[in-house]
Amino acid sequence: MKIAVCIKRTPDSESRFKIASSQTAIDETGLKFDIDDFASYAVEVALQLNEKQGPGETVVYAVGPDLVQETLRKAMSMGADRAVQLKTDAVPYDGIAVAKALAAELKGGGYDLVLFGKHAFDTSGGIVGTATAELLGIPCVTAATKLEIANGRGTARRDLEGAAETVEFPLPAAVTIDEGIARPRYPSLKGIMAAKKKPLETKPAQLGAARVTVKSMDLPPERPAGRIIGEGAAAVPELIRLLQTEAKVL
């Protein structure tokens, strides 16, 4: 199968964040960036599908400045065959603007499957994958926790709140990938060496107009400092009293 995977470069999610002096971005000083977690699951799913189904091609796409080339190389070191950078100085916050750039590039690419992460850690929007599918006019499954492809059709499972559904769909299609579907592989040394020689093409991103812009960023209000009310089962009556009279939740 010919599979496209759209990935994003995001900061390490375990980091402590500070707001930049512009007040409209995070301070990137000292942050480690890598392929977004959900995008790495999508790459893994693509690689496993092509390994299982025989000859195919996995192509990774990223919108962004030249720094995303490192992220694209990482995906190729995992096993993707080639990469395309859709170049722009900064990735807009507007998910539809990004979806337009991806759809313009993917249209006519002959892909059987286009994969995305469920959302990216930084913008946490969950917009680009589903919107790109709509712009391409192909069916889409959002936040899949399981994906199988057989005879030109896909079967996916997705969590609903408190339930789960199994859906079927024809190819070509787009699927956004949730956690728990596959454990992304670590690049092998051989993979890392091979990735250096794999083709990475750079094209200008044909972004749509940005109609959603960042006005400001703030850190969430700190919770009041925690309080230990006692030790062992002896503290339970005091806890009940506080839940009833202070927190009023019981």
Binding site: T130, V141, G162, E165, V212, K215, M217, L243
Partner: protein, 329 residues
């Protein structure tokens, strides 16, 4: 004066809590921009129209009802087409919906189809002159982003539980509409829906969540967490990533950065150390209780009420005390 459309999501013929939250948010927005009508679109199998009164009571002026036998199960494609067709025929200042599993699926499609800007997982909406300004927690809740949305219309997907559904005593006018596309023509077909368990309350809707971590030592000890949740009566059971990765609990129970992000009235953390990954999913809970044997555990930094102790001893005592408190209430 401008009108707003709301997609009021249902499961079967019952409204979801997010539908009432979206209607409440839409009502407040319309009132803030100088008045106008809230139109709630509800689509489901025969009988779904009975939800109209509830939607009216939460601020809908008009309820657009599409009943179709093909909507026993959620059909993303015909619903997307129907919302888009309505918003093309009638101009709306905004289209509101919940950012739930359904909203995640429908919202971006509607935006792409109509070429509208979209903001998702929104916790606050304000009108600011010609623009709409929203707050949106990003970076796994570690940064609050204020976004400005320009243009004559936009799709706004509200984070579940961020808005409290509030009655505003309207009697909605009911209009019957037809779906813009037949569900039978949809390419993505729901084959099967497995309910999570009878009477199980979803993590996103539960006012109380009792969550367990590695401190429980073994999967069978999750019984303690389940018993405590049962004692509260209105509680859902959650888990840490360590526990779901080890297969003690299903992935869908995971609370944290990569799992569900919740903000219940009360969150009880049992045997949870409080890794950043977990805190990102629950730190916006109103009241946090933590029970852990290690008094240095980071969870105690965010817990309103912490008890240092063995979960095997403290949790059964708490379960008994909650039962008693409930009985006398």
């Amino acid at each position: 004066m401008a009108n707003v459309l709301v997609f009021a999501e249902t499961r079967g013929t019952a409204l979801r809590k997010t539908a009432l939250e979206a209607v409440t948010a839409a009502r407040a927005f319309v009132d803030a921009i100088g008045g106008g009508e809230v139109h709630a679109l509800v689509a489901g199998p025969s009988g779904v129209g009975a939800t109209a009164s509830q939607l009216g009571e939460h601020g809908a002026d008009v309820v657009l009802v599409a009943e179709n036998a093909g909507l026993e199960k959620f059909d993303r494609e015909s619903i997307t087409s129907t919302i888009a067709a309505r918003a093309t025929a009638v101009s709306y200042r905004a289209i509101f919906l919940g950012f739930s599993a359904q909203g995640r699926d429908v919202g971006p499609r509607v935006a792409a189809k109509l070429d509208l800007p979209i903001v998702t997982d929104v916790t606050e909406v304000q009108a600011a002159g010609d623009a709409i300004v929203v707050k949106h927690p990003a970076y796994a809740n570690k940064v609050i982003v204020t976004l400005q949305v320009s243009g004559p219309s936009a799709v706004i997907a509200i984070r579940p539980s961020a808005v409290t559904a509030t009655p505003s005593a309207k009697t909605a006018k009911v209009e019957t509409i037809a779906l813009a596309a037949e569900p039978s023509a949809s390419r993505v077909v729901v084959k099967d829906v497995v309910e999570g368990g009878k009477g199980k309350i979803d993590l996103g809707e539960a006012p109380v969540i009792v969550s367990g971590g590695r401190g429980l030592k073994a999967p069978e000890n999750f019984k303690l967490v389940e018993d405590l949740a049962a004692a509260f009566g209105n509680a859902a059971v959650g888990a840490t990533r360590a526990v779901t990765d080890d297969g003690w609990r299903p992935h869908s129970d995971q609370i944290g950065q990569t799992g569900r992000q919740v903000s219940p009235q009360l969150y009880v953390a049992v045997g949870i150390s409080g890794a950043i990954q977990h805190l990102a999913g629950m730190r916006s809970s109103k009241t946090i209780v933590a029970i852990n044997k290690d008094k240095e555990a980071p969870i105690f930094k965010v817990a309103d009420y912490g008890i240092v102790g063995d979960v095997m001893e403290v949790v059964p005592a708490l379960t008994a005390a909650v039962k008693e408190a409930k009985a006398h209430h």
